[in-house]
Amino acid sequence: MIVILTRTIILYGVVLFMIRLMGKAELAEMEPFQLVIILMVAELAVLPMENTDISLMNGITALAALLFIQVLISYISLKSEKGRILFCGKPSILINKGNIVESEMKKLRININDLLEELRSNSITSLDDVEYAILETNGDLNVIPKAEARPLTKKDMLISSPIQHMSLPLIVDGMVYQDSLKALNLTEDWLKKNMESANINDYKEILFCYIDENDDLHFHRKQGNKGEVKK
């Protein structure tokens, strides 16, 4: 039993290292080759884990080979258009300028009900509102509505909006995020001054502190009290 425990810990470490090295895209199971890799990794890791007759090195060798194949294919897809088409395929246009492309639907074995279902999941209730519907290589259907069916934006109304930064955490569980301060050109002195205005003397009193898009500073004390200070 302790052997299986040890093997599990080792293989967990190996698979975690592999997935980290493969990159974030792998976690989203984006492209066909990435999906294949994830399925195979799961299976290959389990075999030496539960069967102690199988050498651990053999399991790790198979995983390492998969890692190399995946990274190599990703690299080829990144650098070569032909490679990308070969490994990932091409997106398919199911609705082109408001017209359903029947030949493409037949080719992909998608019926009208499937298409309508996908459109509904994209919050489109009428086919007439769709200008383009594109089935991406990762299986997602992206819908581009007709101009008249698109939601109104500030740009349509010619309203200019100031450039905003994204909301960033500054203190999490008493720990100051120096990277966030640096990104916003702020200092710890500035942060301390604002803490004093909110009657907070120590970082340790803060559970979460963040600065929002409007430059407002928000404090959540560990006791559950909430404070807010304008920058």
Binding site: D53, T61, A64, V71
Partner: protein, 127 residues
């Protein structure tokens, strides 16, 4: 690019390790087979049981040393199978059972050859 280099490095490391193991297995298994063919079998055929037992002891000691590494890279069931056979050979030699000892020695010899051959890049191993 970093991921590609790391994964390539790991793969090359494994391939280099495989070459080293293959070479180690080739030499060690060849040596064990030599003991069986040149010393053990003739001693059993000539009913020289004292020599046979001495040679078998040498074979077992060498096998025990080699199998420590084999266990890391080869199917452990195959390695255990040779250990079981060794146990049987020990009894056959004690009992001076010529035919049984010879057949078990042949089995061990074939099994050792198979261990090495299974690791070679051959179409039958791949398919």
């Amino acid at each position: 690019m970093k991921a590609l280099i790391i994964s390539l490095f790991i793969l090359l490391l494994i391939i280099a390790l495989w070459f080293w193991i293959l070479n180690y297995m080739d030499q060690s298994i060849h040596h064990l087979i030599e003991i069986i063919d040149d010393n053990l079998k003739p001693a059993v055929i000539n009913s020289n049981w004292e020599k046979a037992e001495n040679q078998f002891l040498i074979l077992k000691q060498k096998w025990n040393r080699y199998q420590r590494l084999y266990n890391l890279f080869i199917d452990q069931a195959a390695v255990s199978e040779i250990n079981y056979s060794n146990a049987r050979i020990g009894v056959y030699l004690d009992q001076k059972a010529t035919v049984l000892a010879l057949s078990e020695l042949s089995y061990v010899k074939e099994h050792l050859s198979a261990l090495h051959e299974d690791e070679l890049i051959r179409i039958e191993n791949i398919l």
